[in-house]
Symmetry: C2
Subunit: 194 residues, 2 copies
């Protein structure tokens, strides 16, 4: 997506070999105009899949999920909550998410009734690297017998294995920008062919 | 705001004396159509204050801040991050927020450069009870010499002191719904005169 790619090149920062910092327009300060353009781009990609609910995980996925849901005709958003602990509660469904960055495992969870069986779900998240968060969200859907019709990502780290694995598994994945790598602090983007 | 009031009465749940559960349309599952109507209502209230940035705190304030910012012409959103710890970093500004519910004190923080001196700030949050979160956000603004032009809240607990204190301090506060109390599990709303 051209507007996002341009913003990443103009304002994003590459740190070390693998940190892509987009705090200034995506996940601390939000460029609202860009956000809603991103929502339109995901909606264009996934409209034919007829998603009924957008699923994401707090906190930085929420803004993007809202923009996508708005562009898809104001379908509902559900955001999974993060917690350090497993809880015992028949009303919720949970899945582990391992963070390679923080070397910790967290649980994500939703109340079951917000994701009824058969719901057509579009997963939206800000980053895709190892794919742990997306797999956690897919696990919630699977446990609920909901149908994942697509996965929309803002920034995919193309040099990490998450995106490739999802595509090989036949998941309809759309990353609005794919980072190939970081060279001397400069972010190198893949040509926009997803 | 009539649509929010109706939704609270239809789907909200009162628990005990003071818990107002609106998970099913506001802060776990989000009713996106209602969310954007709420954004319009805040924009109508605060447009003349000429806000330049919407400030909130993760996680459940983010969706509402995005809706308000969109209705105000796609002005940027900044969301403060929560953490259990104080950090030493010249680039950030932080403030304590005490939670009466959890009996814990957390820090909220933002990167200073996202709230430059003189910025006209609209604070948006989902709940107002004791006012601790709003005071934390106002403290961030004060430390940055940013100007708080208004505070927009989705659900104010009118039986707790936060709203009254802000109004008495002359803050331009707009709560879209004010809960007077909970009677036998039923949520009682104040007539919509804010």
């Amino acid at each position: 997506m051209e507007a996002l790619r341009r913003m990443i090149l103009e304002k994003g920062k590459g740190i070390g070999n693998d940190i892509v910092k987009v705090d200034m327009f995506l996940n601390h300060r939000i460029d609202t105009a860009l956000l809603f353009q991103m929502g339109e781009a995901w909606a264009d990609e996934f409209r034919n899949e007829k998603p009924e609910t957008v699923l994401t995980v707090e906190a930085s996925g929420i803004a993007m999920a809202v923009a996508a849901a708005h562009a898809l005709g104001d379908i509902p958003v559900v955001f999974a909550k993060k917690s350090a602990t497993v809880v015992q509660n028949d009303d919720i469904v949970q899945a582990p998410v391992y963070s390679f960055t923080h070397k910790t495992q967290n649980m994500i969870r939703i109340e079951k009734r917000y994701l009824p069986e058969g719901t057509r779900v579009l997963i939206i998240d800000d980053f895709l690297a190892d794919g742990q968060a997306v797999h956690g969200l897919m696990s919630l859907c699977e446990q609920q017998k909901a149908v994942v019709v697509g996965v929309g990502i803002a920034v995919e780290k193309g040099f990490q294995p998450g995106g490739k694995a999802l595509r090989e598994a036949g998941v309809h994945l759309k990353s609005l920008a794919v980072v190939e790598g970081i060279e001397n602090g400069n972010i190198v983007l893949r040509p926009d062919d997803n």
